[in-house]
């Protein structure tokens, strides 16, 4: 729980581990660099591998507030950056009837009448924050441009007010599911971190951390089976969060040993498409026969 930058990637990994996020060496290294270079991190990877979790864990590690901008199609300036508080401005004008316009104009375009949206909020915050721009691939290409000024210079330009520069550098994490390609301009300003599915050892560790009472044998079996299922060509391979759900299911059902019939019966927890479930069930039933 420190505000000072951590001295090295090992310490970053240790701190993240301490708050329940198990990073691999690469994640720790990139996060460490991002802090050192004051650069945003663009985290890309399939759904449910812990991209958003990483930002949350970072906020906890540093004891910072998490400011989150959830992206969606149609997100605009007023929702992402700032908006003028029209009602308050109007009230102010009515209250000040009789004054000269030149005086009024200065009055109503001040920070008092500004509604800070996540990006501005992160920049104006007196204590440093963690800014999470979630699922940035959902906004249109044009809207991405809104982010550029914030990401490169940590500043926001408001025509009526001037440029607001960050007093403290926020730690910025952007996540993307790669449903479309992001613009070069955005990528250039970020460090790039691809989080894929974890290997068996790390997944087992994650399962043991996230599902406290899980026996090690079961965690091991679950992690190995999930790896095997992911190697099949599926529409939606099981994510880490789904394998955690599955381990919970096994635990709740009181299963001590996973064999193929248990696996087939509980597949619907791991897989969300009927076609996938059928394919995996078929695979598990036909292969693995002696010889």
């Amino acid at each position: 729980m420190t505000a000072v930058p951590l001295p090295g990637p090992q310490e970053v990994a240790e701190a993240l581990r301490h708050v329940g996020y198990l990073p691999d060496a690469r994640i720790a290294q990139v996060v460490f660099l991002a802090e050192r270079l004051d650069k945003p991190v663009l985290v890309e990877g399939p759904a449910g591998v812990g991209k958003t979790e990483l930002a949350k864990a970072l906020a906890t590690v540093h004891g910072r507030r998490l400011v989150r901008l959830q992206c969606y199609e149609g997100l605009d300036e007023a929702k992402a950056l700032y908006e003028w508080n029209y009602r308050r401005q109007l009230l102010r004008l009515q209250a000040d009837q009789g004054k000269e316009w030149s005086e009024l104009e200065h009055d109503i375009f001040t920070e008092d009448f500004l509604l800070a949206r996540p990006l501005l909020e992160a920049i104006r915050s007196p204590e440093p924050v963690v800014l999470l721009v979630d699922e940035v691939d959902r906004v249109e290409v044009e809207t991405e441009a809104l982010l550029l000024e914030v990401l490169a210079d940590f500043q926001v330009t408001i025509p009526e007010l001037g440029t607001i520069t960050a007093t403290t550098r926020p730690l910025v994490v952007l996540t993307s599911n790669n449903t479309r390609e992001l613009s070069e301009a955005l990528k250039r300003r970020c460090l790039f971190l691809h989080i894929g599915y974890p290997d068996v050892a790390r997944e087992r560790e994650i399962l043991l951390t996230r599902v406290p009472d899980l026996p090690e044998v079961l965690a091991d079996q679950a992690a190995r089976l999930v790896r095997s299922i992911r190697s099949l060509p599926l529409r939606k391979p099981p994510s880490v969060s789904e394998s955690i759900d599955w381990a919970r299911t096994l635990l709740a059902l009181g299963i001590g040993d996973v064999d193929e019939s248990v696996a087939v019966d509980t597949l619907h927890v791991l897989l969300k498409y009927q076609a996938d479930i059928e394919q995996v069930a078929k695979e598990l039933e036909t292969t693995g026969a002696p010889g």
Binding site: P9, A25, R26, Q29, V30, F32, L33, R36, L37, K39, V41, L42, E44, E140, V141, E142, N178, T179, R180, E181, E184, K187, R188, R189, C190, L191, F192, L193, H194, R224, L225, R227, S228, S231, P233, R235, V258, D259, E260, A263, A275, L284, T287, G288, A289, P290
Partner: protein, 481 residues
């Protein structure tokens, strides 16, 4: 270090990865915070700053191995040196158990050591075996101009890894009872371990090649085309899987871009009624002319795909991409042919698996008439006969195929009829243009009738074409002659 870094960045650019100046500066800045002796840290730092696309990581890894990974690291790292020594002594231990002497090991000793390394997942021992195996079995000679694959093959021929996998599985089975699931998992895991052994061999061979020839030369021979540039027809299975992954985001990007360009395309006609109404507020002077919203024509699309063996994968990617942006067309109809043609429109659509759709074409659609060899003439003839009335001056026809008609009559007349009825006809040929009109290719006889014949051999070209075809055209409709 700076010289190495610039050389490395140069290599990335040569391999087709776009690295901007800013990114190069970032990489240099990142290096100041990284322990340069720590290879993984270096890899993470350079990867995060220089490569911004998952697809480019494979190329990055290869270049990284050549430039950084392969520099001898035991020299300045006592810990690694100690580990290597320990592993070597383990190897000597295996050799002693097998009755061999130190120094030279024969194949049996290496096999035994490899087996133990695979069984116990002992990475240090595996590395030691790999070092020895390459040293003794690859027979590498300095300055000999052969690629790494040749040496890899020589080593693998002597150490039969496949047989070892079978033995490993059998032995585990003898120790304890295995369920079916357990056996399956174990088999896959052993395969993975063997794959890791092969990878280690490859790395070791590369390391020696670099020591012999220098990083620039080795990197040049290892350069593979990026997946956007991979040949669609001759892609390996791994490449196909990769293309598959790339296709979806690419299609979405294309979709947004096309929609955007359409919106900004042109202003509509003057709207007289609204302009007059507006002018009332300015005393009847039309200061603010109003325009109609442009309504770009949405072409109707006919895709005629040759689905015979040689070009089937290509047809599939074309269809996939076309369907991904099908909202830009008023209607998309697809037809498949080999030597007969049949409509397969209903087979594709949102949420349909393309592989199974292609299987359905094979089993349900009547695409084979005589012998199952492409016959473009007959296919066009049937199309003209059955579907010509549907082809209107609003239609764009796209034909995909290599125009290799197996010496059948090209039936130019039928194709001319189709071309006259449609607004535009495009032909996508997955063959390099220098092979057109050689052998049984009849590209030349159809080409004059098309509005465009494109060589489309990789995803990049395919995306460029689809974008162009989806845009509204300004040319006048063609009138039937």
């Amino acid at each position: 270090m700076l010289a190495v870094l610039t050389g490395f960045i140069d290599e990335l650019r040569q391999a087709g990865i776009p690295v901007s100046m800013v990114e190069a500066l970032d990489a240099a800045a990142a290096l100041r915070h990284v322990d340069l002796a720590d290879r993984e840290a270096l890899r993470a730092a350079l990867g995060a700053t220089l490569v911004k696309n998952v697809r480019h990581f494979a190329a990055f890894e290869v270049a990284f191995e050549v430039y950084f990974g392969l520099r001898p690291r035991t020299a300045d790292d006592p810990e690694a040196a100690a580990r290597a020594a320990a592993a070597d002594s383990a190897l000597v231990g295996v050799a002693a158990a097998g009755g061999g002497a130190g120094g030279e090991f024969d194949d049996d000793v290496l096999s035994a050591a490899l087996y133990r390394a695979l069984r116990d997942q002992d990475d240090a021992l595996l590395q030691a075996v790999v070092r020895r195996a390459v040293e003794q079995l690859a027979g590498m000679e300095p300055g000999r101009p052969v690629g790494g694959t040749y040496y890899l093959y020589r080593v693998l021929r002597r150490l039969d890894a496949e047989a070892m996998a079978a033995r490993l599985l059998a032995e585990t089975e003898a120790e304890r009872e295995l369920g079916r699931l357990e056996r399956r998992l174990l088999r896959e895991e052993i395969e993975l371990r063997i794959e890791r052994f092969r990878e280690a061999l490859r790395t070791e061979i590369r390391r020696r090649l670099v020591a012999d020839r220098g990083p620039e030369a080795v990197a040049r021979t290892l350069r593979r085309p990026l997946i956007e540039d991979a040949d669609l027809v001759h892609a390996t299975r791994a490449e196909l899987a990769e293309i598959e992954q790339v296709l979806h985001p690419l299609a979405r990007k294309l979709g947004t871009r096309v929609a955007q360009r359409r919106r900004h395309g042109r202003a509509g006609r003057l709207d007289v009624r609204r302009t007059i109404r507006r002018s009332l507020s300015s005393g009847g002077v039309p200061v603010d002319p109003q325009f109609r919203k442009p309504r770009p024509s949405k072409p109707e699309l006919f895709v005629l795909a040759d689905v015979s063996g040689s070009v089937a994968t290509f047809a599939r990617f074309t269809m996939q991409l076309v369907y991904a942006i099908s909202h830009q067309f008023s209607r998309v109809r697809s037809f498949a042919f080999i030597d007969a043609i049949d409509e397969v429109t209903g087979y594709f659509g949102p949420g349909v698996d393309f592989t199974s759709a292609l299987d359905r074409i094979g089993s349900e659609a009547a695409v084979v008439w005589l012998d199952g060899h492409s016959d473009y003439g007959n296919a066009f003839g049937q199309f003209a006969e059955r579907y010509l009335p549907d082809v209107s001056p609003r239609s764009t026809v796209i034909v995909t195929g290599d125009a290799r008609s197996n010496y059948h009559d090209p039936n130019r007349g039928a194709f001319a009829e189709i071309a006259t009825a449609a607004r535009t006809v495009f032909w996508l040929n997955p063959e390099a243009s220098r092979y057109w009109d050689t052998g049984d290719s009849v590209m030349g006889s159809y080409a004059p009738l098309c509005d465009g014949v494109h060589e489309v051999r990789n995803l990049r070209q395919l995306a460029a074409f689809v974008e162009q075809a989806a845009l509204p055209t300004h040319r006048a409709m063609r009138r039937p002659a």
